[in-house]
Structures are given as C-alpha cells and as structure tokens.
Amino acid sequence: MKTLCTILWLATLTCLSATDWPQFRGPSCNGVSDETDLPTMLGSGQHLAWKTDLPGRGLSSPIIIGDKIFVTSCSGPKQQRLHVLCFNASNGAKLWERQFWATGRTMCQPKMSVAAPTPASDGERIVATFSSNDIVCLDFDGNLLWFRGLARDYPNASNSVGMSSSLVVVNGIVVAQVESESEAFTAGLDVHTGLNRWKLARPRKANWTSPVVLKSGGRELVALQSSKGVSAIDPATGTTIWQYDEGGSSIPSMASSDGTMFVPAHGLTALRPAASGEKPKQLWQSSQLRPGTASPVVVGQKVFALNDAGILTCGDAATGNRLWQLRLKGPFSSTPVAAGHFLYCVSEKGLAQVVDISKAEGEVISELDLQETILSTPSISSGAIYFRSDARLWKIGKSAPKPSA
C-alpha cells in the first residue's frame, strides 16, 4: 500500500519513476527504498555489477534517474574545479562530464569536500550544488540550463570548514539551504531559470542539514532544520507554515515517515506536523536514540540511530523506547539506507555491512570490504545499491557486464 502511494505521489508530481533515487536519501528524503529485491549477501562479491573511476574528491551521493546516474566531484589544489558526471547505470560507462569553476570559497576541513552536497532532480533536469554554493542545472544530456553562484551573489554565504546541505526540487522550485554564521538564508529558485522566487532569512548558525520534502494535508511542504528547530515552508512562496522552536541538530537531518517527523533534537524527537500556524505536536523525545553524523532512518515501526563509533540503536517509532543495540564496525559518517528489512551501512573504512533488522536484536548478515574511505550515503535504484568514495563508484546489484573498452 505504501509502495503504491509513493508511486502515485511521484507520478502526479514529477517525471520521476518509482525506481528513481532523485535526491539525498531517496524519493522520500528518509533513506528508505520500497524495493525488495536488492542483494543482501554481499560478501562474495558476486553482486558487484561494475565499478568506475571518479575524478578528484567527493562525498555526495549518486542520484539515479532511469538508466542514468549523476555524481558530483571536485578537483584541483583547492578543490575549485567542480565536476558533474553522468554514467550509464547498466554498464557504468561515462556518458558525459561537465566542469565548472567555483565562484565561492572552497575552504574545507580535510575530511570534508567541496563536492559534499548531493544533487537533486525533478525527473527532467539535474541540479547540482557544492560547498562553494555554486548551483548548476543541466538537462540529462549535459546541456547547461542555468548557473548560479550564490556565494558570489551573497558574499558571506560560506563557512570555513565546508558546507553540505543538499538540494530538493519541489513543484518547480529548487530549495537551497545556505546557512552559516555570517549569512544564512534558504532560497527558492525557479528550476527553469535559476532565478530567485523567494529568499528566506534563516538563523545565523552553521548548518549542515538538508531540507526534507513533507507530504502534509495533500500538499508538499519543505522542512528546514537548524539548531533553532524545524520550520515547514511552502516551497512556492517560502512562507513559513509552522515552526518547532525547541532546538535541533545542525549535522544529521530529520527523517519523515507516515506523517511523523523524526528530528535529531535532544536525542531524537518525534513530531506530528500541524495545521498552518500551529506548532507540531511532540509525540516523544528520547535521549536513548542519539544519531551521530548519520541521519536517522525509519523502517516501518522501527527507528534507527547510528552514532559515529558504530553503535546502531533501534527504537520503537511509536514510543521512542529503545528496543535493541548492535555494534557495527565503524566509524561512520554516512547515513544507512534501507530496503525491505535490511539496513545497508557503510563505514568510513569502506566496510559495507548489511543488517537484518527483522531479527530480535538485529544481525549483520554480510559484509563487503570496498577498501576505500567512504563518507558518502549509498543510493538505491532498480535492484541495485550504489556506493561512492572519492575515487570510485560501485554498483552492487543486477547489471549487464561493463564493456571492456
């Protein structure tokens, strides 16, 4: 039923299909795929469909639309060269690559990368952003549709450790959350032209979280998280519909499932969105569920928080009570993704671990050592899971063999 709803929702709004993974943490911005036929026993390596090289560095997630995969990277001594690449999902062949020069600052912590934010798509075009706050819109053949340099337009829109908020595209509006100590705003850009449709002042605090699309009362809102809390806005106008002002994390992003929002705040806080102007109802708050860098994931009636060291905590999504804990091999920066009753977690050391969450205490059922540093959140599409490191993109799943040339 949930799958059908997702398909119908996507079909009515965009040119996306149910198997697309159009943005950070997938179609519902929560890391959960409705697919059920992903490989789960990864250890043998038999499911490695292909792997391909990437230029420079990057920790953004790949996004997948139909048979095309889009990935961003950055290169050069100061990571000032911005890359957008398109690959054939079937065989990993590179279809095109476009490069741009950063117009904003590219200073980052060594662990961060200018290619940290994940691009987004409305099913007709791809919109890619970078820590420099440059935004590029291309069609699926690599034709440039528009370019914005937000840090050039608004010179204090930067921080000195790197920015990472990913984009969402909702009803023809690209929502870009650009929040730092010196300047903070969220912009709604026309997906056809890149022009500002609105620009909303935001709390002047460094913020690495990403916007989340909410389905609320038959319409789509965008939830913006910050250290102040959560605001739900109308993507058409930037108007604030409701606010939760009791704090929030500035690193892991909230997840939404079945109308409830799971916000990294005071551990984890479950909110039920309210009508216009009203504060959302707080369902529970749990200090036992404490996400680290990874964002929470909600699968059915279970909510998961993974800390940086690798402790995976499973809680009851209805109450916030802790159900079990499982030690994974960490450390972790990337957010797990889920399909069926399996959670796919990849450590910073590149060890992918598949957790069967239907087991009473959870159980790691397989591992695959990709042998490279991975900070990026995996993506899921058409029976495959995609991992990326700085230098590589892997497809684990069903695929035709890559051509030898």
Binding site: R98, T103, R105, L144, G149, R152, N159, S160, E181, S182
Partner: protein, 390 residues
C-alpha cells in the same frame, strides 16, 4: 625529429593570428557574456548556449576567446560550452584546430582559465608537447598552469636530491619557490630548502604585514561588539584615550614575530573573552592600483581601507588558513591606512583561545607587494621587517 616538429609547431603557434567569430556565434557569445548576479540573463543564455555548442570544432576558439574579460558567471557558461564541443568532436574523431589552439595557449593575454582549458586538452591529446611546454610556464598567469609547472620542477629537484646532487636540488627548489603561489607548495618547498640548510623567511616571502598599532579591549559581550561602532572606526587618533571594557585604553605598538605573521591580540591584551580590539597599519604604494587584501583568521573581523569598509565576517573558531579571504581593494598612491577589527567570543574550549589575524597585500595571483616596491618611492619599508625580528 619529433622534438624538431614540436619546436616548429610552437614557433608556428606563436606567429599566427586569430580570426573574428561568425556573426551568429558572436551574438550568442554576447548574450552569454551578459549573465550576471542572481541569475540575470540565465534564460537568454540557455538558448544561446545551445547555438554556441551546436556547431563543429571551429566554434571552439570563439568560445575560448569569449572568456577574455568575462565575469565568473559567464566563464562557467563558456567553460561548459567548450567542454561540450570538445567531448563531442573528440568522440566523433573530428580534427580539432590544434594550431589555433596552440597559438591561443601561448598568448598570455587570453584569460588564464581559457588557456588552462586548452592546456588540459593538449595534455590529453599530446602529452609530450604539453610536458615540454610546462617547463617554460613557471610564471604563467594561470595559477593552475603555474601550479603544475612548479610541481614538475619540485619533482625534478627531489630527484636531484635523491641522486645526491644537493646543490642542483637547492637551485631547482629556489627556482620553484620563486614561482610558487600555492601556499601548500610554498610550505613544501620551504621545508625542502630548510633541510638543505637554506631556511626561508616565510613572513617575508608571503609579505605579511607585521608592524601594527593596536587598541583594546572593547566589549563584545553576547557578540554584540562586532556591530557596535567604537571610536577607532570613526577616527584613528593615536593620541586619544577611550573607555574600554575594563578601563581606559590607548593605542600601542605591536610587532608580530609569528612565523606566518599572525597579529595575536592575546599578547598585548591577555587571554580575554568577549572582547574586541583594533589594529591599524600603513601600507605605501608607489601608485594607485587594484590589489587584494588577503586575511586569515578564525575570529570575527572587519577591514577598512582608508576609512572605507571592505568586508567582514561574523564567524568564530571554525578554521583558519593563509589567504582565507581575498578582498579586492583600490590603493591610492602613497600612504594607505588599513584598519582591522578582530573580535573574541565567549567560548572557553581550548581550541577557542586564538584571537588573531594575519594580513598581506598581493596582486591577483597572490604575489605579495614587497618592501622593495615601497623603497622605490622613498618610503620607510620597515613594515615587513620588524624591529624585534628574531
């Protein structure tokens, strides 16, 4: 034979002339070059971009030439157009106009980024020629080309060192250092020279301004001092006395002995919290000119030049690096007063004790304006040679 061919090719490139683009391309280029802030011109540019990229390889050179004088937004439109033309033409086996492209590369009047794009194309299609050219591009206006040339020379120096040729290595490292503008490269080369017994005065090399007058502390409780206008922002009067956060404050001399020219406010004022202070220095220029003021630091700051506000950042304790911020500025001939406000917040963690900044004046490549330039106009050049120089 191949070597002679390359030399002939290079000579040919240097001697040929460019042609004007066809009218339809010129029109499309004009539209793209008109893009501006906040997406201005994007819609029109998108249509023109398709026209620009629809043609064959002959359209490549006009696109590259269109980058001359283009703003940063337009440069990216044109870069994407060049990439598109090149990838399509190369994939179909078309012959690129390499003679014209070579001439374009050697003509340093063209935009450095366009020339870099051509250099990368050459490196892809004819690596030996690109490699040969690189050795002569140590002082190229393209920072990326220069970076690669310095890297090549640094590798040669390391090979000489590994082979036991210390004097040869030293010469090569020195040559690389003279051309390097990338901070990491400069640090790496300086370390190599130090191991060869030739320490580098990095303060002098980078041209950090070391001698300042400072005044403070003023109140920055609740980080409100960043916006509050204290008397030094209104007038610099070295004889004046003001109410500070904890009593009367006066201007005093401060000279940095820090390896990278940090002006450390903790030294004159103590390790204070929720305070702000000002530093001012004179910079002499032999003429009116456009420069960059480059500042590094992890505290909130504001900068004024000759009383005109340039830029500021209200951000504390994220990270710092040399040339963290570059501000275009117009120097006047003679004396130029630089005023810096630097604030400290309330955080008490041990990584929040820094209350400092570093600043230098450079050209657009990062070449510092050195004391010799000031000496030429008969001005005391002690600014980069502090009295307490260790």
């Amino acid at each position: 034979m191949k070597k002679h061919f390359r030399q002939l090719l290079l000579a040919f490139w240097a001697g040929t002339a460019a042609a004007s683009p066809p009218p339809e391309l010129a029109s499309a280029l004009e539209v793209i070059r008109a893009v501006g802030p906040e997406g201005r011109g994007n819609s029109e540019a998108s249509a023109s971009w398709k026209k620009l990229t629809a043609g064959n390889a002959n359209g490549l050179l006009p696109v590259l030439e269109g980058m001359d004088g283009a703003n940063d937004y337009a440069l990216n439109w044109l870069r994407a157009a060049a990439d598109t033309i090149v990838s399509r033409e190369v994939s179909t086996g078309a012959i690129l106009p390499m003679n014209e492209l070579g001439k374009f590369l050697l003509d340093t009047r063209h935009h450095p980024r366009a020339r870099r794009l051509v250099f990368e194309l050459l490196a892809r299609l004819d690596p030996p020629t690109a490699n040969q050219l690189l050795s002569g591009m140590l002082n190229d206006p393209s920072l990326e080309i220069r970076h690669d040339a310095v890297e090549q020379l640094e590798q040669q120096a390391s090979h000489s060192l590994a082979a036991g040729n210390k004097s040869g290595a030293s010469l090569l490292f020195q040559q690389a250092l003279a051309s390097a503008r990338d901070v990491k490269q400069i640090d790496s080369i300086a370390k190599n020279l130090e191991t060869l017994g030739q320490p580098v005065d990095l303060r002098k090399l980078f041209g950090f301004l070391l001698q300042w007058k400072v005044i403070g502390p003023f109140d920055n409780t609740g980080q409100k001092g960043f916006e509050k206008v204290y008397p030094p922002e209104q007038k610099i009067d070295f004889s004046a006395e003001y109410d500070g956060k904890a009593g009367k404050v006066r201007w005093r001399d401060y000279t940095s002995a820090h390896k990278y020219g940090m002006i450390d406010m903790n030294q004159p004022f103590g390790k204070l919290k929720e305070v702000t202070a000002y530093a001012t220095t004179d910079f002499f220029s032999d003429r009116a000119q456009t420069v960059e003021l480059r500042l590094g630091g992890k505290n909130s700051w504001k900068v004024w030049l000759n009383g005109k506000y340039l830029f500021g950042r209200d951000e504390y304790h994220f990270d710092a690096e040399i040339d963290q911020y570059s501000m275009p500025a117009e120097l006047q001939a003679g004396r130029n007063a630089i005023l810096v406000k630097v604030c400290q917040n309330e955080q008490t963690e041990n990584w929040t004790t820094e209350w400092e900044f570093q600043l230098r004046v450079t050209d657009s490549l990062g070449t510092p304006f050195l004391p010799a330039a000031m000496a030429a106009i008969g001005v005391n050049t002690s600014n980069t040679e502090p009295a307490n120089h260790p």
